[in-house]
């Protein structure tokens, strides 16, 4: 009991700290843009005392974008936590496993056949990314599933790499036929650039992220049971394969919804759960919320850096995340005992 409560205290302390950092990042991000607003103006405007222009800058341009970043960061991080839990593989990540490639392929197919990113047709984009992500997940599941042994973690990754290559080839095939302007949008989106920056995007993403994050927290004990190994998990009475399928599906839902808004940002799903594990241990009910906050911080910070540091051009957030996340992944790979 002593140990448990100490861990809990630590988790709350870390969680509080991360929350503070997350809020700081978002406030800092609110402060960056072409128009300079003093912190005082921002606070005034946030409480409804600013002038109309400042309000427009904050509420119409900056805040929705930051919130989309925040939600997508959470979505990707939680998706990664779930995937790592169910595959018992510390290297699992929605990007590496090919879910992003599937979702991206969905978007490219959409753009190729329906051309337009505006107009009423645009409302089908999330449908296509979700379909792509689901197909990728199904492929992984079918190919890595074995009647006797169930889902094999290592094979999930190998299959994921192949699925990624396959979907990327299809995406490439279609994207070469796009005209230059559409292509330049698509290429940014593919590496992860926050294009959803309206309130509508926030409203659209919010329920996905909250519901599936809550679902994963509700299933936290089952995720913990997975880490014991399949036999012992069955021993405890977990309906192993069924739980795994539903958790996998919610991971797909989280990542596809996020990818629909911010593009193929990789590595957050890997890095965030890992850092969380280092900070608060591997108990899912502590790890997931902390991972979510870390994911939020990473994506919000990467987006802020990408659009300010390289003016007048902006670098997609995904490139920044990859530049930091990939070395960390390799570091883990070297350290992993396997």
């Amino acid at each position: 009991m002593e140990i448990l409560s100490a861990r809990r205290r630590k988790a709350f302390a870390v969680g509080g700290l991360m929350l503070a950092v997350a809020i700081c990042t978002m406030v800092l991000s609110l402060n960056t843009g072409t128009i300079w607003l003093s912190p005082i103006t921002i606070v005034q405007t946030l409480f409804g005392f600013g002038d109309a222009d400042a309000a427009m800058v904050l509420f119409d341009y900056r805040l929705p974008r930051i919130l989309v970043c925040a939600l997508a960061g959470i979505g990707l991080a939680v998706s990664g936590s779930i995937l790592q839990g169910i595959s018992r593989n510390s290297l699992a990540d929605p990007g590496i496993l090919g879910l992003h490639a599937g979702a991206s392929c969905g978007l490219i197919v959409f753009i190729t056949f329906f051309r337009s990113l505006e107009d009423p047709l645009a409302l089908f984009i999330p449908l296509f990314t979700f379909a792509g992500g689901t197909i990728a997940a199904l492929l992984i599941f079918l190919l890595a599933y074995n009647r006797q042994t169930g889902l094999q973690p290592v094979r999930m990754i190998l299959v994921g790499i192949a699925v990624t290559a396959g979907f990327s080839a299809i995406s490439l095939f279609f994207s070469l036929r796009l005209d230059e302007d559409t292509y330049s949008f698509t290429s940014r989106w593919l590496v992860g650039s926050v294009w959803g920056r309206d309130w509508e995007n926030v409203y659209a993403l919010f329920p996905w992220v909250t519901i599936f994050t809550c679902y994963s927290l509700w299933r936290a004990r089952i995720l913990d049971a997975f880490s014991l190994g399949d036999e012992r998990a069955i021993g405890i009475g977990v309906a192993l394969q069924r739980e795994r399928l539903w958790l996998l599906l919610s991971a797909v839902a989280l990542s596809s919804a996020s990818v629909a808004m911010v593009g193929g940002v990789g590595f957050i799903g890997l890095v965030a759960p890992h850092l969380a594990k280092r900070l608060v241990g591997s108990t899912a009910k502590y790890q997931i919320p902390v991972a979510a906050l870390i994911g939020l911080i990473i994506l919000a910070a990467a987006d802020m850096i990408g659009r300010t540091l390289f003016l007048p051009n902006s670098i997609p957030a995904g490139v920044i995340v990859a530049a930091v996340g990939a070395p960390y992944f390799l570091f883990l790979l070297v350290k992993a005992k396997s």
Binding site: G33, I35, L123, P207
Partner: protein, 305 residues
Amino acid sequence: MRKFKPTVLTIITALLFSLLAGCSSSTKTPTTAQATGGAHTEKAEKIASLSIHLTNDLLALGITPVGSVIGGKAKDFLAHVADRLHNTKKLGVAADPDMEALLALKPDMILVDEEFAGQDLDKYNKIAPTHMFSLDEGTWRDHLRALGQMLNREQQAESFIQEYEAQAERVKSLIKEKTGATTAMAIRVSAKELRVQGMKRPLGPLLFEDLELQPANGVEKIQKAYEVISQEVLADYDPDLIFVIVNVEEDAKKVFEQLQVNPLWLGLRAVKENHVYVINEQPWLDYSALGSKMALDEAEKLFAK
């Protein structure tokens, strides 16, 4: 595994629809600002343009916008008009304009291209009255006339168009005199591919309507901006006159140099008769009033010698 847990599926389906609904609401009410065009005449002094082509239509009317988007490739205003835009604020690239910079300008009027900005129309309208143009509808003459009407410069628009038509006649006869050509095609050489420019904007209308050249055999089938072709079928087009646009990239130039010593290229009728004309990406591919006029200026020099 055997049977789907209905709750999760229901949730996903419901959410999918909410996501769809969320995305749709952003596009539901594009207030057609075009109708309100007449209301803001003459007062509009500070105009911001979110299309490089509309910017050049404005310049043709003698109006310098206070802000304009820049070319995506050049990361700057298009080279042929850059000297006229010294005091114009850069508003980012057309596909991703800088809303805050636009707001900071406090323009009286905003011009947008439906292709890029259709979705954000109500955002623009919050900043200033916004006029949306679809560059795929009508020719630049229609856009110029519409702008002229909006800004009380109908006279300038008409005289610009008249001058252009006169110049087009001159160029037409110059081409006839110098080359005797009736059929023509334009190709664009980049590092990895060869494109034949089609009948649609940017180059089709200029060559095949304004200059009344006949599209080379097969070009009339390309009812879009361009088509990528294999070098093998280059000989099938075999026109009297070839315009070559070489991309600014260095390796594209190398490819063109290699093409020029290729026997296949040397076998083309236009090449043998020395009727190949290298033209610049800009202004030739800038489908706007000013761009087309400057292309004619260049053509006048090309065919004058």
